[in-house]
Subunit: 293 residues, 3 copies
């Protein structure tokens, strides 16, 4: 199943339009090339619709946002929605500023996202913002502590208090299912454990390495991978998102094993992209560690 | 001949002003440093003329274009033309949007480019746009299938149908000579085979590795190299462009040989830049594979 | 002393807000992660104040400046000053354009910088600009040849004629002390020899490798490190800046030793970040080579 998703990416070589931050752009491009897809980065509103029209999927990323890139996201997103291209939203650091929150809210109200991927703190904020759009009260049992978030998010990392631990797994799974169902998107909460749900099922993916968080842009790269996998497997985006998550976690493990003792996070960055480049379906199936809830 | 071109770069250490995309900027900078040149990236219109005045050459790149960077290209290009600095244009993905096409047309009408480098699909589009400027009909025999291009270019890669194969080599050489002659530029069509012409001669350069296309920004890096080589060899820019092309292809071969079995495109990226850093004139002369047509 | 500074970074994991150029962003982010800090890059004026409020320190970098990023620097800088967060200014290539000079002058007049770090040519220009703000004459004995600078700075490297050699060390130390005292900042002139002063003491740091200048962004990375070290050691920023300088030079030596014979500047870039990731306090104390003047 995972193998087939990966092979479809390599057969189709989908062109992925990325409107992304300027911190990790090159790494996202190389990660897309590694998995078999092709990147095109373009954030000028004047060309956003055309660029996305010649691509197979669209990834939007809220890191280093500006008015111009947000405008491009609206234009490209609308066109991609019209064309039925998979659209992924990665709300990087959405809790860190009112500008990001307002931008996210406008995007959520204007566009349909096939996949929303972020760390747990970001996804909780997205859930709150979505509810705020409709001025709805969030039931305590559903909120998974979302009240605690606003105003406390710092930077682009998840809050330690939000971490999806084994002890909080049931609550987290319930939250992700609820969020997916209400947002009408596949929701992927990624971190030490990844949770991916379409509102009905929720995949729980383990593996990877804690040290992946010491490499800038692993989240952005995973968003790129998910968009590529979704674009090459449009009929089964939930499985596609699962396959992308397993590919990233497996690559993180292989890359760590390949690190020599004097190497650190810069080499780890390269070795993860390398591991995706070398990934074969058998290895992916064998090393993937997931269950359905 | 190639050796001398490379040595001139290392002796002169030309400062190259790059107005380039934000995907591959760091790699272009490191590639320029690898060959012996020095990079300065600057795309603010307010300083574009001054920055280019203290540089030895100017490289413009149409990836991730915006109104501000296009304005900077006009200002810097005009000043570089006045000062007689070599100016290179890399029309990344020019077929992908009307905005890129219109921007390219305006740049072609306002500036003189010493070198235009792109993949075959990009150069065919540039040729068409240039003709459109003067509302001229392109003779069928000259067009090398340029009619097929518009509206079909997807992303930043060449179309498979445009690929310069050995079977189509004569036609491709004729096209590149015609384009160079009419555009009054050295034209470099690069890909599996590179073709570089000043309108009279056309160098055909073989070698390199297909896998170079799985690394983001190898084209941008080659444009950087060509600008550095042209700036350090202003009296013979055709040979300079040839030497840059051979340097890149040779580096691609050496880097591939140096890859270990667990490495992929991220390490390949580094190893190519490393190979240029370590390149000596003898190796370059020995490994370069080109002929004149 | 150095060890403690490094350990404080790893204990506190300070979030560093960077308003920086788009050439070296990813490397700065990975360098911050390597030392134990966390990066957030954000240059939208609308969110600059909020982002900096949730960070522990602020690094501003004048490479690839634009009106929008300069505006963000003013907003973020003012807020960071109010909050007492360490603010570092890296005036990349300030001599290269009037736009950079005017922008630097406005920043110098509006904000307090805890640390100003640059190469000798940049710091001399900053000193001149600061004096020009108050229309003051610079005494010949203090100027360390600053008259020679204006109009000659080319690119982002120090002028060879400005180089801090052992023969000119006393004059250079006197200049850095004067500059620090008058600018009310810790001033760090970095290059083959680093000089760091608070106006009273001046540390002279040797070591590192000449080849570090063949890697793009080592200066930007050092600025990132200094901001992280200052933020985690706010009570002793002079020692913090010294520790950051020693960390970078030591990493440059270790990384060079780890280079294999086919590797060049791209691998060197990675290996320096890796060396910071692996740096332990003992190694830092043992390899650091500095004296006080």
């Amino acid at each position: 199943m995972l193998q087939e998703c990966l092979e479809n990416v390599r057969k189709m070589t989908p062109l992925i339009h990325c409107i992304t931050n300027y911190v990790t752009t090159g790494d996202v491009a190389n990660m897309l090339l590694a998995c078999g897809a092709k990147p095109i980065m373009a954030d000028e509103p004047k060309e956003a619709a055309e660029i996305t029209a010649c691509a197979a999927g669209l990834a939007m990323n809220l890191g280093t946002p500006g008015e111009r890139t947000i405008a491009a996201m609206h234009i490209a997103g609308r066109r991609a929605n019209e064309l039925g291209h998979p659209v992924l939203f990665d709300p990087v650091g959405v809790g860190a500023s009112v500008f990001r929150q307002e931008s996210a809210k406008e995007l959520l109200s204007a566009l349909h996202f096939d996949v929303i991927r972020g760390n747990v703190t970001e996804i909780k904020m997205i859930y709150k913002l979505y509810h705020a759009l409709f001025d709805r009260h969030i039931g305590e049992e559903k909120a998974f502590g979302t009240d605690a978030v606003i105003g406390k998010a710092s930077g682009v990392d998840a809050l330690a208090s939000d971490a999806v631990t084994e002890g909080k797994l049931s609550d987290a799974v319930a939250f992700v299912k609820t969020a997916a169902s209400e947002l009408h998107s596949i929701v992927a909460v990624t971190g030490a454990v990844d949770l991916i749900s379409d509102g009905m099922l929720c995949y729980v993916i383990r593996g990877g390495r804690e040290e992946m968080s010491r490499v800038t842009g692993t989240g952005c790269q995973l968003s790129g991978l998910m968009t590529a996998f979704a674009s090459a497997n449009p009929g089964n985006m939930l499985t596609a998102a699962l396959a992308a998550s397993c590919t990233m976690k497996t690559a993180g493990e292989i890359a760590w094993r390949n690190l020599t003792e004097e190497e650190g996070n810069a080499s780890y960055r390269n070795r993860m992209i390398d591991a995706v480049y070398r990934m074969d379906g058998d290895t992916l199936e064998r090393m993937a560690d997931y269950e359905v809830r």
